[in-house]
Symmetry: C2
Subunit: 387 residues, 2 copies
C-alpha cells in the first residue's frame, strides 16, 4: 500500500476543449499471494468406519457439520455421526432431499439456518457425505459460512469420487442453468470409501464410468484402454479394480486442477462433453437423463463435431462410442429437441462474448478448446444424438 501524491485528471470535450479538472488521490491496495494448498485424497474399502479420526486430523474443532441426502443418510449417517462424536465433535446434521433439483438456494438457505442456528465457528468443518449434489451444495455452504470454514468431502458415488469431490468447484443450480452460483473452495481432505459404491444402483456406477472414460479421452490413452479392458470387473465393483480406477482418475483430475485451479486454461479440457451434456440434462429434465449419461452423450456429440471439423478420426470416435456403450451408457437419445438444446448451451458459464467455447477430442488421450464452431455444425452434432 502507498498513498501517491495528490494528482489531477483533466477531462476534454469532443472538440478538445478542457471541460473539468478533477483533483484526486489514489491509494493502492496490495493483497499478497495466498499460500499454496495441499490435500490428500484417500481411497480404500471401509474408510468410513474411521471417519471421525480422519476429519479431526485435518480440522480439529469442538463442533462439526455433516450434510447428506435422503438416499445416503438412511444408510450411512448414523454411523458417520457416531464416528465423529467418538472423535470428540459435537455434530450438527442436515439432510437434504436427494436430487439435483434440490441443489438450489432454498436448500442452501435451510442448511445455513441449521449451521448458523447451531453455533458454527470458523474452525468447524463441514463434511459432505454423499454424491456430487451433496458435495457441491456442502462445499458452497462451507465456502459461505462465516466467509469460509473447512470442508471435507466423503464421496459415496463413483461419479463424485472421480470428479466433483476433487478440485474445489462447489455451487448450486439456478433456473438459468447448473452450477451458476458457487465458489472455488478446496476440501481439507477427500475420504473415498469404495465399499459405499456397493449400495449404488448400477445406473449410478455407469455414470461414474462416463467421467473416467472422459479422463482417458482427454489425457491418458493408457487409462482409456485399461478401462475398456477391465469394464466387466469395474461393473462388478471388484475392489482392486475399483480402487485402481478411482486412484488413476483422481490423479488425472488432481494434476489438471493443480496446473489450473481456476479454470483459466487446461482445466477447461475436463469439460469435454459437458457443454452439450448440461444442455441435454436441462432440456430432458434433471433425473430423467443423469449427469454421467448426459456427459457420455455430450462426448459423442463433441466427437462427431470433431470428426466433421476434420480434427478427430472416425475410427477413434467409433472406439470411444464402443467403450461408452460397453459401460452401459446410452449412445443416442431419440426425440432430443435440437433447437432447445442448442439454445440452452448458450447459458453455459463457458460462453464468452456470446461465443461457445467447446472442448473437442483430437485423438484418444488428447483434446483441445475450440472457439467459433459454426452453429450448423453444432446443431448437426446434437441432431446426430437423436438418430
Amino acid at each position: 500500500m502507498q498513498a501517491v501524491p495528490r494528482g489531477c485528471e483533466v477531462r476534454w470535450d469532443r472538440q478538445g476543449g478542457c471541460v473539468t479538472i478533477i483533483c484526486m488521490q489514489t491509494v493502492r491496495v496490495d493483497i499478497p499471494a495466498a499460500a499454496a494448498i495441499l490435500y490428500e485424497i484417500r481411497i480404500g474399502a471401509g474408510l468410513l468406519g474411521d471417519l471421525g479420526a480422519k476429519v479431526r486430523a485435518v480440522a480439529p474443532a469442538p463442533s462439526c457439520g455433516i450434510v447428506t441426502d435422503s438416499n445416503v443418510g438412511p444408510i450411512y449417517l448414523a454411523a458417520a455421526v457416531r464416528s465423529l462424536e467418538a472423535a470428540g465433535f459435537r455434530v450438527m446434521t442436515f439432510t437434504m432431499k436427494a436430487g439435483e433439483e434440490y441443489k438450489n438456494l432454498a436448500t442452501f438457505s435451510a442448511a445455513m439456518d441449521v449451521f448458523l442456528g447451531g453455533g458454527v465457528e470458523r474452525a468447524t468443518p463441514m463434511v459432505a457425505l454423499g454424491g456430487g449434489v451433496v458435495g457441491d451444495l456442502t462445499g458452497y455452504v462451507a465456502a459461505s459460512l462465516l466467509r469460509g470454514v473447512p470442508f471435507v468431502q466423503v464421496p459415496t458415488t463413483l461419479l463424485s469420487a472421480v470428479d466433483a469431490s476433487v478440485g474445489g468447484k462447489v455451487g448450486i443450480d439456478h433456473a438459468a442453468g447448473k452450477n451458476l452460483i458457487g465458489a472455488f473452495h478446496q476440501p481439507r481432505v477427500v475420504i473415498t470409501d469404495i465399499a459405499a459404491f456397493r449400495t449404488l444402483p448400477a445406473r449410478e456406477i455407469r455414470c461414474g464410468l462416463a467421467e473416467c472414460i472422459k479422463h482417458g479421452v482427454i489425457r491418458d490413452a493408457g487409462l482409456f484402454d485399461w478401462t475398456a479392458e477391465n469394464m466387466a470387473r469395474l461393473l462388478a465393483l471388484e475392489t482392486p479394480a475399483m480402487e485402481e480406477l478411482v486412484a488413476r482418475n483422481v490423479a488425472i483430475k488432481a494434476a489438471v486442477v493443480g496446473e489450473d485451479p481456476h479454470e483459466k486454461g487446461v482445466r477447461a479440457l475436463l469439460n469435454l462433453g459437458h457443454t452439450f451434456g448440461h444442455a441435454i440434462e436441462n432440456v430432458c429434465g434433471y433425473g430423467e437423463v443423469l449427469h454421467g449419461e448426459a456427459v457420455g452423450l455430450g462426448m459423442i456429440a463433441a466427437g462427431r463435431l470433431a470428426v466433421a471439423l476434420g480434427k478427430f478420426s472416425a475410427g477413434e470416435l467409433q472406439q470411444m462410442m464402443e467403450v461408452i456403450g460397453r459401460a452401459g451408457l446410452p449412445t443416442s437419445l431419440p426425440g432430443l429437441d435440437v433447437e432447445k438444446t442448442y439454445a440452452t448451451m448458450f447459458t453455459d458459464k463457458k460462453v464468452k462474448g456470446g461465443k461457445l467455447r467447446l472442448i473437442l477430442p483430437t485423438r484418444i488421450g488428447h483434446a483441445e478448446m475450440v472457439n467459433d464452431v459454426p452453429a450448423e455444425a453444432i446443431r448437426a452434432a446434437i441432431a446426430s444424438l437423436g438418430l
Copy 2:
C-alpha cells in the same frame, strides 16, 4: 500431484488386538499459490461523471451489472447507467430496498435472478453503487455468480468509503447475526466520489467518522489528533479535508488488509468496537442504532473494559469519548438490555471455542486482541453504556 505406493492402515481394538487392515491409496492434490492482487482506490470530487471509463479500464466486457438501493438509485443510477453505456457496456441493473434488513438471502436471490437471467458472463463486472449494505451484497453476488466475476466498489457514503469498500469482505446477514454468510472477494477498483457525500443525512456522515476515529485509535495517533482538530470542517464536508480524511483512512485499512487479507492476525484489530457494536445493533434493531453509532458505543465499552483491566488510561478513554461526542455520535444508550447484548456477542464470527476474542485499546494509536476476559467485566462495560 503424485500417487504414493499403495499403503495399508491397521486398526487396533482397545485391548491392542488388530481388528482390521484397510488397504488404501492416497493421491495428493497440490494447488499452487494464487497470484497477488493489486488494486487502486481513487478518491476525488466528481469521479462518478467518468464511471464508465473507469470500470472499462479494469473490466473490459460486453456487459456489466450495477446494484444500487432505493435511496441512492433515484439520485445517481440514471447518470451511472448512461456513463457505463457510453463506455460500451450493456447494463443490467438491480435496485434493492435500502436498509440492512434487506441485506439477506432473499435479496441475494432476486439479484441472482436478474443477472443470471440477463446473461452475465465470467468477465461481466458487478458495480456496487451505494453504501456498505449495497457493497456487501453486491460483492457476495459478484463472488458467487459463475464462481466469481469482477467487482467494482463505488461507495457513496463516508462509512463505506473508509471501511466496507476496501478489503474484500463481502456478505449478507442471517437471523443469527450480521455478515454470517459471505466471502472474501477483492474489488478491481474502488471509485470514491466524495461529492456524493453531500446528499447524505448528517447522521450518516457521523457514522463514517466513527470508523475514522477507530482507525486513529488502533493505529495512528496523528490521524486521531488531525480528525479531532478538523472535526468542524469534516462535518461541513469541505472537499480538501474530506479528501484527506478518506485517503488517510483507506491507506490505513489498505495497509492492514494487505498485511492480513483473511483476518488471521492484525486485521482483527479493525474490529475494535465491533463485537460490542454488532450486538448493540442486533439487540436495538438495525436502523434504530446505525452501524457507526454502534461502533462508537462499542469503542467506548471496549475502552472502559480496557481501563478496568488496567490496559488503557482513564485520560485516553476520556479523549476518545470526547472525539466521539464531537463527531455528534452517541456516547451512551439508556435502557440497553445488558444480558441480551452480552448473549448476542457470542454469535459473533470471532468467537472461537465458545470464547470471545475482544479488541481493546491500549493507548491512542495502539490496540490488541484479548482472550478470556471475565464475563462480569464484559457485562459491566455493556452496563456502563446504559448509565
